[in-house]
């Protein structure tokens, strides 16, 4: 089920397209996050 408003956002660690390791926890206390899931690169809307 899709997570809901008020729930804790699960932490993640992923490589970015700039080859950097990015963790959600890096941003805690510092920035709000807009986490934008998209289905696949090159899929037109």
């Amino acid at each position: 089920m899709v997570l809901k408003v008020g729930q804790k956002a699960p932490n993640f660690t992923m490589k970015s397209h700039k080859d950097e390791l990015v963790r959600l926890s890096d941003y805690l206390g510092k920035k709000n996050i807009v986490l934008a899931f998209f289905p696949l690169a090159w899929t037109p809307v």
Binding site: K15, H17, K18, N32, V34, A36, F37, P39
Partner: protein, 195 residues
């Protein structure tokens, strides 16, 4: 546009199940993407799955989560996979989290609206499929109603959270004072006097 996110102390992160080389190639084809595109490739779709947005076909929904500085989810938009979510609405939510920054940036958000006094009030978002069904249903039965967009009207979102156990469940109906959370047909029919 990205400057505006920065001004709201917000980092944009894109994420898909594509591999890093694929994301790189795509970003290059678009002339470069400054915000990080994260690869949810291995384990395949694990993060999408954690957030509840992994589709059967192995790719994710087109969805946006706004997460505050305490790591709490403050907004969720699971969009029609064939449509692009709107940024305007996102800024309404961010303005709620960062009112001073919004004022400094002169981000125009809709002014707070009083709670409607109509017989039938429908609390919705633009993107929620059940909301579309609710609108169609009311129209089919010639029921007049006032619609409130809870993405834009964050006071209204707060009311819905109060009714729906902290969730921003849509559609939520207020029919002559009776609150019905979610499109429960039997309850809606009863409240509207439809057999």
């Amino acid at each position: 546009m990205l400057d505006q996110f920065e001004g709201m102390h917000t980092q944009v992160l894109g994420i898909s199940v594509d591999s890093v080389p694929c994301l790189k190639a795509w970003a290059d084809s678009l002339g470069g993407i400054t915000y990080p595109l994260l690869s949810d490739f291995f384990p395949h779709g694990k993060v999408a799955s954690d957030y509840g947005v992994l589709r059967e076909e192995g790719k994710s929904e087109r969805a946006i989560f706004v997460i505050d500085k305490q790591g709490i989810i403050r907004y969720v938009d699971v969009h029609d996979i064939d449509e692009q979510p709107s940024n305007d609405e996102l800024f309404c939510v961010l303005a709620e989290l960062e009112p001073e920054a919004a004022a400094a940036q002169q981000i125009a958000t809709p002014p707070p609206q009083p709670e409607p006094t109509a017989d039938v009030v429908l609390y919705c978002t633009q993107w929620c499929p059940s909301c579309r069904r609710a609108r169609a249903y009311l129209k089919e039965h010639n029921i007049e109603y006032v619609e409130v967009d809870i993405t834009r009207d964050r006071e209204a979102a707060k009311r819905v959270r109060g009714w729906a156990n902290g969730n921003e469940t849509t559609p939520t109906f207020n029919i002559n004072g009776k609150i019905i959370v979610d499109f429960r047909l039997d309850q809606v029919n009863q409240a509207l006097g439809i057999k």
